[in-house]
Symmetry: C2
Subunit: 215 residues, 2 copies
DNA sequence: TTTTATCAATCAATCGTTTGATTAGTTTTG
DNA sequence: CAAAACTAATCAAACGATTGATTGATAAAA
């Protein structure tokens, strides 16, 4: 059955995604993955050709859904620049934190630019969101919503960097926050809204608040 | 010769640090490291006991210099809370960006879920700086320098997260910034002061600037 | 002589991958 | 319809290669 086959492939990809994100590409063995997925080892090669093929398949599966994450928010003319940015942050936090271990995968892969073509693909994929936010910031400066002398590029680094820091270093951020951030209930009910509130206030203070001593 | 032995060990550690940071712990083989270091493979086990011992030795070597990085800034009673925080940022940016590949090592290792003892050691090491900043923020709230309702823990995430984002994802941040951030001259003369200025203004706006619409 | 450092050769273990056999499901054929 | 032929999925076993580690010999130093 074609349907069952896709389900099984999808199940293998789910498991592989988690195992790769926990152990890294080289640290995760094909025996480990097939064992946890409950399938014969040979199935990995049967379906995906090779270990690297399996790894790449994980990315292929997600790329399309990622591209549309923040897109087209900037084109809504009924919103102020600030509202657009705030909406971006809400959407981004909502979406990205559930894809927790895929984010770790992306991050590890993009820091280690072995497999250059994949790095390029990931970069391209992440840049879609970057460009969307940059567009909003640019526009906000032009229409006077935001200060003229803000550092757009570093603001972007702060937005994505803050999120990355929290979810990519769970050991550390759990210690800092005093809670295990892998506790889904805590993450969903407390941390997510808290991050949204914080990020918006942080950015608003930097971008919009009158500040007589800007130096 | 004790001196030569230390030099050779240090040279091996230098090479291993770079190779590990490029390929990860599992991706880097002992033959790779010994080959690039120009020493016999058995020397790694002779000096460091095992591959993991070598890996740990890389961290041991850096820990002491890390621990004193931000420490004792908070104890200087002649500075305001804000000046302390600003000094922390300056020192941190100055110091951390040169240790580029060691930072990548730390980041990759702390992202992994398994390999518990090392993760704990790294976490402990990074927490020293976290605690120092937290102390300054706590104090600043108490003495009225900073707003009472700031989110200390997420501020910390922004400080370290922004930095990590820039230097750990060079492909992406180079694209965002429009310069190759691995260009040392650009990094030293332009990006470093720019990051310092930006971080200070961002934090000041959030922590101290009067803001009538804090929600 | 005793200790330390270095080396090529080798170890068992594990790696990703392949194989050939077997099963189950579908299509074709008589 | 039923037997045969074909296809896809699954498996245990084994493959050669590479891994981290160890050995015993040799050289250098103390």
């Amino acid at each position: 059955m074609e349907k069952e086959k896709i389900d099984k492939k999808d199940h293998i990809l789910d498991v592989a995604e988690r195992v790769f994100s926990d152990f890294g590409f080289d640290g995760a063995s094909t025996r480990m993955i097939s064992g946890e997925a409950g399938v014969n080892m040979a199935m990995l090669n049967y379906y995906f050709g090779s270990k690297e093929g399996l790894f790449l398949a994980i990315f292929e599966r997600k790329i399309s859904s990622f591209q549309t994450l923040l897109q087209n928010i900037g084109n809504d003319d009924s919103m102020t620049s600030w509202d657009k940015l705030a909406k971006c942050i809400d959407k981004y936090v909502d979406r990205i934190i559930v894809n927790n271990c895929f984010q770790k995968l992306i991050n590890r892969e993009i820091t280690m630019n072995k497999r250059g073509d994949l790095t390029d693909k990931i970069t391209e994929m992440l840049m879609v969101n970057v460009i969307e936010i940059r567009k909003i910031l640019d526009e906000g400066i032009k229409n006077g919503s935001f200060f003229k002398d803000i550092d757009i590029q570093l603001v972007i680094a702060s937005i994505f960097g803050t999120k990355n820091y929290i979810i990519n270093t769970p050991h550390l951020s759990s210690l800092i926050l005093g809670h295990d951030i892998r506790d889904e209930k805590f993450m969903e009910e407390q941390l997510k809204p808290r991050i949204k509130t914080y990020m918006k206030r942080l950015l608003k203070a930097y971008l919009m608040t009158d500040n007589d001593n800007t130096k």
